[in-house]
Symmetry: C2
Subunit: 314 residues, 2 copies
Amino acid sequence: MKTRITELFGIEYPIIAGGMVWCSGWKLASAVSNAGGLGLIGAGSMTAEVLQEHIVQCKEATRGLPFGVNVPLMKPNSAELMEVIAQEKVPVVFTSAGSPKKWTSWLHERGIKVAHVVASSTFARKCEETGVDAVVAEGFEAGGHNGKEETTTMCLIPAARKATSLPLIAAGGIASGEAMLAVRALGAEGVQIGTLFALTQESGAHEAFKRRCLDLNEGDTKLLLRKLSPTRLVKGGFYNAIEEAENRGASPEELLDIIGIGKTKVGIFDGDIENGELEIGQVASLLKGNDIEPVATVMQRLVLEYEQALASLQ
Amino acid sequence: MKTRITELFGIEYPIIAGGMVWCSGWKLASAVSNAGGLGLIGAGSMTAEVLQEHIVQCKEATRGLPFGVNVPLMKPNSAELMEVIAQEKVPVVFTSAGSPKKWTSWLHERGIKVAHVVASSTFARKCEETGVDAVVAEGFEAGGHNGKEETTTMCLIPAARKATSLPLIAAGGIASGEAMLAVRALGAEGVQIGTLFALTQESGAHEAFKRRCLDLNEGDTKLLLRKLSPTRLVKGGFYNAIEEAENRGASPEELLDIIGIGKTKVGIFDGDIENGELEIGQVASLLKGNDIEPVATVMQRLVLEYEQALASLQ
C-alpha cells in the first residue's frame, strides 16, 4: 500500500480521515494517525482558540506522527485559523471550498504540505497550477457540501487522473477496502474517508446522530439545496422542510430562511436528529447495523479487506 | 476474464452492451456479440414487427453467437415483444422497468436466460426470489431512466453484492477497462455498458447526437424529472425547459405537457439536439474528443485497458 500519498505525508497507509464539522476533533484525528493513516482536524466549526486547543491535544496524543487540519477557505476566520496552524507547526493542511491560490505558497514557505479538495477535473487542473502537493477529488456520493456538476466518484476519479499528474486522493462513497481498491484501479493513490470515521467512537458527533446514520437505507440521503450550494443531507424534519420548499419552487432567499444558522451543530453535535441539519455520505447505508466502533478496529478492517480484495483479483 | 457471467451467456468477455432506445438495433448488438461480448437489441422503441426484423438480421450477422433483447416491462406491447422473442428463439432477455415476476418462468420454460435491471439492493433481493439468472445493478451515473434512490455505482454494487448471491453485472459510469476492474473489485462479475456503445459507428443514433455526446463537459448531464420518473438528460433546449419548470415548482402534469410524446426519437434518432430528448450517461464527459469508432476498436481497447490496469495493481 505504498504510494506517493504515503510518501508525501510520511504515513503507513494511504488513508486520510476527512476533516468534518463537529466530528473531527483531536480525538478522531489522533486515533487515525496513531493507526497509520492521516487524521485531519476539521476547523470548519472552530474558532482559532478552539482549533489551537485541538492541535495541542492532537500533538500530545500522536507524539510526532503526522496529522493535519482541514480549512474551508470560505470561512470568515480562515486567516486566523491559518495563523494558528503555522504557529503550532501543523505538518499538513487540507483546504476546501475556495481557491487554494492565496494560501498555498504561504503554507509552503512555512514548511506545511498542502492538499486541496475539488469536485471537478477543471479545478483539479487549476490546483496543479497553484502548486499544491496533492489533490482530493470528491464525488457526488460525499456527505455535506458537494460540487455543482454532480459527478460521481466512478466518473470523477478518471477525469481528475487525466487532468493532473499530482498525487491523487479519491473521496466519496469509500467505506471499505474493496472501494479503496476500486478507486486505485481508477487511478487514485489514496483515499479520504468521511462517513466511516464520523460514526466511530472517537468522532465528536452525538451518539444519536451516529445511531441515526447507522440505520439508513439506500435513498435516505439526498443532494438538496442546488439553488444555494448543493449539500447532501439525511432525511428527517430539517430535510423535509427543505425538500417541500424546493418542490414548490422556493427562492434561494426562502431556502436560506429555512436553513437558519447553526443547524449542523444542532443535528450533529447536540444530536437533535429531527430539527438539526444532518450531513453524511451516501455510503452510510452500506454500514447499516454496524456498531459504533473504535477507529483502530475500522482501520484494521480496511487494510484487511483491501488485501483480500487484491488477492482475489489475482 | 472468465466469470459466472461469461459462463452463463457463453461469451468470451463479461461485457454486455445495454439495450438502448434508438441506438441498439441489430447492427450494434451483432457487432458487440461478434467481438466477444453480449449485444442486446433495445426493444423499448420498437413494435413487435420491427423487433422481429432486428432479431432476424442479428441472427444472420452473428451466425450462432449469443445475443439478447432488452424489454422494458412497462411498455404496453411487452407481451407481443415477448412472443416474438420466444418465436425467434432469442437466447437471452434482459428485463427492466417493472417486476420480472410475471415473465421469468415463462421465459425459462422456453429455454431463455433472464437478467433483470435494478437500481437498489431491495430490488436485487426481490430479483433473486423471482428466479432470474443474473442481476444488473445500475447506478445514478447511467443515462436515461434511473432509480429514485440516486445510489451511485460505487455505493450500489457492494449493496447489491450483499443482497444477492446471483451473478452480478454492474452498470452506470463504466466506459473503460479501469472502470471494469473497479466494479470487479466491488463484487461485480460483469459490466453492462451503454454510453460507450451508443456513440459507436454501429449505434442507430443520429450522428448529430453522437457528436453532441462526444463534446460534453462534466456537469452537462443531470438527473431531472424526479416528480415523474428520474431521468438523466443532456443539457440543451429540451433539458432547459424542464429544468426551468422544475425550478419554479411545476407539477407532474405540467412536466408531462413539456415532455410531450416521441421526443427521444426526435433527439436521438432524428438528431435534433435542441428540441429532442437526449439521454446519455454521465461518463460521456470522459469520452470528450473521441472519434465515433467501430465497436471492434472499442472492445479491443476495453480488454487491453482491463489487463493493463490489473497488471499495474499486481
